[in-house]
């Protein structure tokens, strides 16, 4: 059998690798991604493993890379992100180079940024000083006298506490106090100014006179690069004690104080000096910046390469930590799952690994037998991956179990399209899928949003859904809810037209009669356009689509039950064929396929032009009522001339079918438990009959090995389970199956419901929106055209957003349910665990996702 029908055959292998060649071999294996390693040291803590130091080194390198990347990003240097070819993991010799290189680069950048910070804080100080000098100029030009007066007046206005203070000071010689009027100048963060002012007021009891001026331009914080708004202040005061207090407050508020000469000329001199120093500093700063840019540009080119190399290295050492050391310390032993088809590739990788490191002793691979359940691996391509993902989302198939994915490729889009059937909407969907497929390569390389990825990974599903929707749309004769009359309607209106022309029996709506107005051959492909225009369209379509849903539902379920044959053959559970599969199939066929047959019979034999009165439309029995009566053994009633049955002996045949179906239930229920009991008894008898103990042991070990190799699962079950458990398990299984056939058949009616909803919605949209745009013919053609333009825009918008997107999503979900529950429950186990090969590509992708 080809790919995908069952998961690949897996083998558990032991790898014996020379320690020197191990790194390179694992690197080769990582490039191909064909093996899943098992942890042989699960009892050993991660910190005590062999290659933990190497992993730490990689971590350290990653940290450095992260630091460098952050620095590069901070300076807005573009990082080349379009790597055509991913670098391979570095050789052990190259690792040391790389490490040294990284160390060097990191130190370079560190040093550079340290210097830059120093220079910048220098620069900041100088700028602040310049501002202080410039701003305070204004304060000092106001005469000292004035300011003193002001101060004085302020003090006058204060309360009694300050007044006593003034009195004390008034006792001092006033001349000296006036001479000692001092000040402190500095810069403070703008948001701190109000509290700073209040604090100064409190500590001096109002004896400090504060002047301030805001700096217009924000200054840059050298360490963080943030923009800070600052304010220059000058505090005037008297006395040494106050001075020290004010300085303390200043440090408390992180205000920087700058020396400011009392003398005007000195100040001018100082400003001049500061300006020249600033210019010099600016020059130096620019040069450092240039140098830094050059270094970062150089690094940015190599950065993605390095990152990938380090990640690969880390992955390799992590993998090597899973290996076991041989007792003689001569070689590393690894255990891994390999698809049998890929064994040659793995051998090649090992040889390549030893060749690259020049080792003379080859590594070798040993396939070992095991009872363990191998992982499930379905080899997919870009087309089948989407469908496999749909199945895996429900549960990963057990090892070598029949995989529903290949059948889903068609049944999924088909069932979707039954609900979504409309040529126009299908066409839009197809266009969208074709767009994604044509630009596949472009989008594969680019990282995109999660929602887009979801659509993109399902592009082939969407394509098939669109194509099938076009087909079902043709059959439903639905193109944006309008029919096409390609082959000519089978309903002839000439008779009624002459009636209308002659005004006979005028009513608003007239029913066409099947015997007179029907041309006796149906519309060759799809629904007759005459029906789509009819007022009683829904009645006819409902009857048709409900039958359609049941027919396809029953076919789908029978298909699902038949799929279990594959598992039966595969796992050699032949008893299940007679005790489970056959009764299940019979039950389904005798009851539900019979229902389907009744539908076809009704379509064929009841005819309006029939000679026999029993087969005229008036006598046609409801298929559903017939079916219910068959189950519940109800009485069939009918009008005088009609027969409640479609064909002779129907009643007896139905009784037989129903009886047989009921008989299937006990077979399903008791078959397996009784077989289990029978086998167990026989086994016990055989063991008792065995002779000497030594023989017994031999026999047992042999038997165990054989049975475990062939079908470990069945023997395991039989050994552990008791009869009661088997019985309960089977009872649940049977009840579930019998009830589910009924509920699942009904569940397929969702095909009809969704299809009806979709058709009605698109019709309503056409009538309520686009139709309004056509309007009634008026003379104002230009107005009409504008109206139509807007109506079309609205119609197109709702068609895409609601009918294609929302309805499409809802139909998708219902289809998913029909597959997961109604189809797969008939045969699918889904108890496996996925094969997760050690592959650099997936590791890198996963880390990229995390980074995002």
């Amino acid at each position: 059998m080809g790919a995908l029908f069952k998961s690949e055959q897996m083998a558990l292998c032991q790898l014996f690798i020379q320690p020197e060649a191990a790194y390179l071999s694992v690197s080769e294996l990582g490039e191909t991604g064909t093996v899943q390693f098992r942890d042989l040291n699960s009892d050993v803590n991660y910190f005590q493993r062999k290659f933990v130091n190497e992993v730490r080194r990689c971590d350290e390198m990653e940290r450095k890379l992260r630091y460098i990347e952050a620095e590069v990003k901070k300076d807005g240097v573009p990082i080349a992100d379009d790597l055509m070819e991913l670098p391979r993991a570095p050789n052990p010799r190259m690792i040391i180079d790389l490490e040294a290189h990284l160390e060097e680069t990191e130190n370079d950048i560190l040093e550079l940024s340290q210097n830059a910070v120093n220079l910048k804080s220098n620069y900041l100080e100088l700028t602040e000083l310049r501002h202080v000098l410039e701003k305070t100029q204004v304060f000092f030009t106001e005469k000292n006298q004035d300011s003193y007066l002001l101060l004085y007046q302020q003090e006058e206005a204060n309360d009694s506490i300050t007044r006593t203070l003034i009195n004390e000071e008034a006792q001092n010689p006033s001349a000296s106090s006036r001479g000692r009027l001092e000040f402190v100048a500095g810069v403070i963060n703008r948001e701190r100014v109000p509290s700073f002012e209040r604090m100064l007021w409190r500590i001096s009891r109002g004896n400090v006179f504060l002047r301030q001026a805001e700096l217009d331009k924000p200054l840059e914080d050298p360490a963080t690069g943030n923009q800070i708004f600052k304010t220059v202040f000058v505090a005037f005061f008297q006395g040494e004690q106050l001075k020290s207090r004010i300085k303390k407050v200043c440090t408390g508020f992180h205000a920087s104080i700058y020396p400011c000469p009392h003398n005007h000329a000195d100040r001018q001199e100082m400003v001049k000096g500061v300006r020249t120093r600033l210019e010099d500093l600016n020059l130096v700063l620019n040069q450092t910046q240039d140098h830094r840019q050059r270094v970062l540009h150089n690094v940015a080119k190599e950065l993605p390469n390095w990152t990938i190399m380090v990640r690969k290295m880390k992955a390799i050492y992590h993998t090597m930590n899973l290996f076991n050391m041989d007792v003689t310390k001569k070689c590393l032993i690894g255990e891994c799952w390999v698809p049998i088809a890929d064994l040659a590739i793995v051998r090649n990788c090992l040889n390549e690994g030893s060749r690259l490191c020049g080792s003379t002793i080859p590594s070798f691979l040993n396939v070992i037998h095991t009872n363990e359940n191998p992982p499930t691996f379905n080899r997919t391509n870009k087309f089948t991956r989407g469908f496999q993902n749909l199945i895996d989302a429900y549960g990963v198939a057990s090892y070598r179990e029949a995989n529903p994915a290949p059948y889903t490729i068609i049944t999924f889009p088909f069932l979707f399209s039954v609900m979504f059937g409309d040529c126009g909407h299908g066409f839009i969907m197809t266009l969208f899928a074709v767009y994604m497929i044509v630009l596949e390569k472009k989008y594969m390389a680019r990282k995109t949003s999660e929602i887009w990825n979801m659509f993109f990974s399902g592009r082939y599903i969407i394509l098939l859904m669109g194509l099938f929707s076009i087909y079902t749309g043709i059959i439903y004769n639905d193109l944006f809810s309008k029919p096409l009359n390609i082959f000519g309607s089978s309903w002839n209106v000439t008779r009624l037209k002459t009636d209308i022309d002659h005004n006979i029996g005028i009513k608003d709506t007239i029913s066409l009669t099947p015997d007179k107005d029907y041309v006796q051959t149906p519309y060759p492909m799809g629904m007759d356009p005459g029906w789509i225009l009819a007022d009683n369209k829904i009645i006819f379509l409902n009857s048709y689509k409900m039958k359609l849903s049941i027919i396809f539902g029953v076919v789908h379920m029978i298909f699902g039950v038949c799929m279990s044959v594959v598992n039966i053959i595969n796992f050699k559970r032949y008893s299940s064929f007679f005790l489970e599969f056959l009764p299940q199939l019979l039950f389904l066929i005798l009851l539900f396929s019979y229902l389907v047959v009744l539908m076809f019979v009704k379509w064929i034999i009841y005819d309006a032009t029939s000679e026999d009165i029993r087969y005229t439309p008036g006598c046609a029995p409801s298929v559903l009522i017939t079916f219910i009566n068959m189950i519940l053994a109800g009485e069939e009633h009918s009008m005088d001339d009609c027969s409640p049955y479609m064909y002779p002996n129907q009643f007896i045949l139905q009784k037989v079918f129903f009886g047989l179906a009921i008989l299937c239930v006990p077979v399903m229920l008791f078959g397996k438990p009784l077989l289990f009991l029978f086998r167990k008894n026989r086994q016990e008898r055989r063991i008792v009959g065995n002779g000497t103990p030594s023989q017994d042991i031999e026999l047992q070990t042999e038997g165990l090995q054989n049975s475990s190799a062939i079908n470990s699962e069945t023997t395991d079950h039989h050994e552990t389970e008791s009869f009661g458990e088997v019985m309960i398990h089977q009872a649940i299984h049977t009840i579930e199956y019998v009830l589910s056939t009924i509920s699942h058949t009904a569940s397929y009616l969702r095909l009809w419901a969704l299809s009806l909803a979709h058709g009605q919605l698109s019709e309503v949209l056409w009538n309520m929106v686009l139709r309004k745009g056509f309007g009634s013919p008026t003379d104002l053609f230009y107005l009409q055209s504008v109206l139509l333009f807007c109506a079309f825009a609205a119609w197109a918008f709702f068609t895409i957003s609601i009918l294609v997107m929302m309805e499409g999503l809802s139909a998708f979900l219902h289809t998913l349910r029909l597959h997961w529950v109604e189809f797969m429950s008939k045969f699918y186990d889904g108890q496996g665990h996925p094969f997760q090969p050690f592959c650099f590509k997936t590791i890198l992708d996963a880390e990229d996702l995390e980074d995002q």
């Binding site: 309607s489 225009l533 359609l548």
Partner: protein, 88 residues
């Protein structure tokens, strides 16, 4: 019986080719099985879908209820096409 032989034969033949003949000529390769299954399932589902629609209309038990204006419109617009099909 309201079936006409031509469309039934035509569509059965068409989907028969897709579902039975084409799978034989699928080129050998790893994906041969999948392609065969796809062709067979496509042919079967599409054929059954068409057949259901055809048979549901084969012997109509009721006729469409049409508005007077619709009938006049159908007579005017579709008479040409209809004429051809009735001749057949």
């Amino acid at each position: 019986m309201g079936a006409s032989l031509l469309p039934v034969l035509f569509f059965t033949f068409l989907w028969g080719i897709v579902g039975i003949v084409l799978p034989i000529f699928v080129p050998k390769g790893t994906n041969r099985g999948i392609l065969q299954v796809m062709l067979i399932l496509t042919a079967f589902t599409c054929w059954l879908f068409w057949l259901c629609c055809y048979m549901a209309q084969m012997n109509p038990l009721i006729g469409p209820k049409l508005h007077k204006n619709t009938i006049l419109m159908m007579a005017r617009e579709w008479s040409q096409v209809q004429f051809e099909s009735t001749v057949e």
